[in-house]
């Protein structure tokens, strides 16, 4: 327990440093973006029929939500805000706290990503075991190659293909938006059903995008474990197949937890594509919007949130890992 606590403390310390660094980086990147959002806003208003001067004034009010002062002052202000979980105000949302806007969007990213990951994790692991066992046969080959292929194909290609096939050519599933409005939000069959229906394609894309990785990782992990002496030893002791299978599975899955965290990162990164294709109002879309709108605070916030969730996922995966690996639990360093 002490070891785990220490590990946790170490991770947290490193995580916090990481977050601060990322926050700093994003702060400066975001502020070095060229372009004049004020002029763009003015032009937009002018096109909508507003007078030049009025447009300028309106824009000035809107962009008043941007922090003022020297870059350094802004930075210290931003960092001290960060400690209070205050990420500033969003311009496009007329001064709404960035944290609130992010909170709205986060659920539309986190849930599908989690469901998709879980789904592909389960299926991928099973198929990975199968591919490992049949690795010298045709089927194993096909599984492995298709796994590599799926692992290799970028998410947007998968998303586009799925959307083209299931939402356009054979329109059996909704391909944009997260839910149908006419259902009263809440715990009722219609609303939940609509949510689920709309989530199918994005979740499927997330799942397919990570599935290949699982198959490959699980396969190689199983192959490694199969080569471990203790499996042969168990066989030579006449252990039941089912028990040996459990040994293999548990030992093979263990290293996958690290990959789980990494894949979460990958998926969260890919959310931009999937959400754009399926018009899912999650963090990715928010980030994209904030970039085109030059909503600096929101942009930095979205970027930070995505990164932080990856850091947290890493920590969780590691803790989970240490909870089930006795070697780590007792403080022994496990290589690989």
């Amino acid at each position: 327990m002490v070891v785990i606590a220490r590990r946790l403390a170490g991770h947290l310390a490193r995580g916090v440093v990481m977050i601060l660094v990322v926050a700093t980086i994003s702060f400066f990147i975001v502020r070095s973006i060229p372009g004049d959002p004020v002029a763009a806003n003015v032009q937009k208003l002018v096109q909508q029929g507003m007078d030049q001067q009025a447009a300028e004034q309106a824009t000035r009010v809107l962009y008043g939500f941007q922090p003022k002062g020297s870059l350094w002052e802004q930075y210290t202000q931003y960092m001290s805000g960060l400690l209070r979980f205050d990420l500033g105000q969003s311009i496009t949302h007329a001064g709404a706290p960035v944290t609130q806007v992010l909170g709205e969007a986060a659920k539309w990213t986190v849930l599908p990503v989690l469901v998709g990951t879980l789904l592909s994790f389960l299926v991928g692991i099973l198929m990975g075991v199968y591919a490992a066992i049949k690795r010298s046969g045709k089927l194993g080959d096909v599984l492995a190659i298709s796994g590599s292929l799926l692992h290799g194909i970028p998410q947007y290609v998968l998303g586009l293909l799925l959307s083209a096939v299931f939402a356009t050519l054979i329109p059996i599933l909704p391909g944009d938006g997260p839910v149908d409005i006419l259902f009263e939000p809440g715990f009722n069959a219609g609303y939940i059903g609509s949510l689920a229906q709309h989530a199918v394609l994005p979740v499927l894309t997330y799942a397919l995008a990570s599935y290949g990785g699982w198959i490959l990782a699980m396969k190689s992990s199983v192959v490694t474990v199969l080569g471990d002496d203790f499996i042969l030893a168990a066989e030579l002791r006449g252990m039941k197949r089912s028990i040996i299978f459990r040994y293999i599975a548990r030992n093979a899955i263990l290293p996958l937890f690290t990959i789980l965290a990494l894949s979460l990162g990958l998926l969260l990164g890919g959310a931009v594509f999937i959400e754009r294709i399926f018009n899912y109002p999650g963090l990715g879309l928010l980030l994209l919007d904030s970039i085109t709108m030059r909503d600096y605070a929101l942009m930095g916030g979205a970027f930070l949130l995505i990164t932080v969730s990856i850091i947290v996922a890493n920590i969780l995966a590691d803790l989970f890992y240490s909870a089930i690996d006795p070697r780590v639990r007792s403080g022994e360093e496990v290589s690989s």
């Binding site: 002496d229 042969l232 006449g238 252990m239 039941k240 028990i243 040994y247 006795p326």
Partner: protein, 334 residues
Amino acid sequence: MAQQAPGVRIDGLTVVYKTPAGELPAVRDITLTLEPGTITGIVGESGSGKSTMALSLLNAVQPPGRISAGSVEIDGLGDVVGLKGEDLRKARGKHIGYVFQAAQNSLNPLKTVGKQLLDLGRSHGVEDLRGLVREAKELLGRMGLDGARVLDSHQHELSGGMRQRVGIMLALVLNAHLVVLDEPTTALDMITQANILKIVREVHAERGLTTLVITHDIGVVAEVADRLAVMYGGRLVEQGPTREVLGSPRHPYTRGLIQAIPRLVGDIDEARALPGRPPTLATVPKQGCVFRERCALRMDVCDTVDPLPQADQGADGSRVVACHAVTANVKEHA
């Protein structure tokens, strides 16, 4: 099935491995009898086929290898080569205990020894799991370990010597009377090795086992075995009672091997290395004597004809040698 030390008769055993160059024999036409209640030692250099033979005793040669000919008759089990599926699985562990070459890593790193013991019990339909644990503790205690603590430990919490002892415990706990130990002391230091060998000897005697010890270290065999068999290039070149074989080796390889042992006392110039190098699966001659390349007594016939094992009966049991030169010599004398 409460049986006592079973006898084992290996007859014409050949094991081949599939390689890009075709199927090559790692063990070729070996005939060997393990008398009930004895400790037999097999020595041979790396790659001579020792482990392969040991695995054949459990019909557990791993792909791409397979037993291509011969039989392994074990009292109370019959021909193991013919066993399949559940029968084979049940025989392993319950009838034949196997202590793994790399016993260091023969335990599941994620489970405690005790849990693995229970898994073993369940696999073999042991009803009285408490009894099994008691038995295991007793065995461990017998080997100088604190049974309760060991059963609660994970592999990484045990030292090499302790792991090896746990391996022996797991091989014996189901009351197997035939035990195969593949390199039981490799990678252990001298003092631990001495302890393990002592344990092997004592347990063997106490439980009335038939034991097969496989090693590349003649010293180990000399220390524990009643009978000694020498393997070279997948062939059994000589076997007989340990003292006799060590005291008066007949096969030129055995002689060379014994001569090559560094000695603690005596004239150091007596010892010398064997010229040449041991064969590998690919370089072992396909026909004729496998040792001829390094043999001082090489004759023309060695190139073409496999020397047949010739047996004679000595005071402590039979001695077998497979060498044209030795046979010829004997004939000459006769």
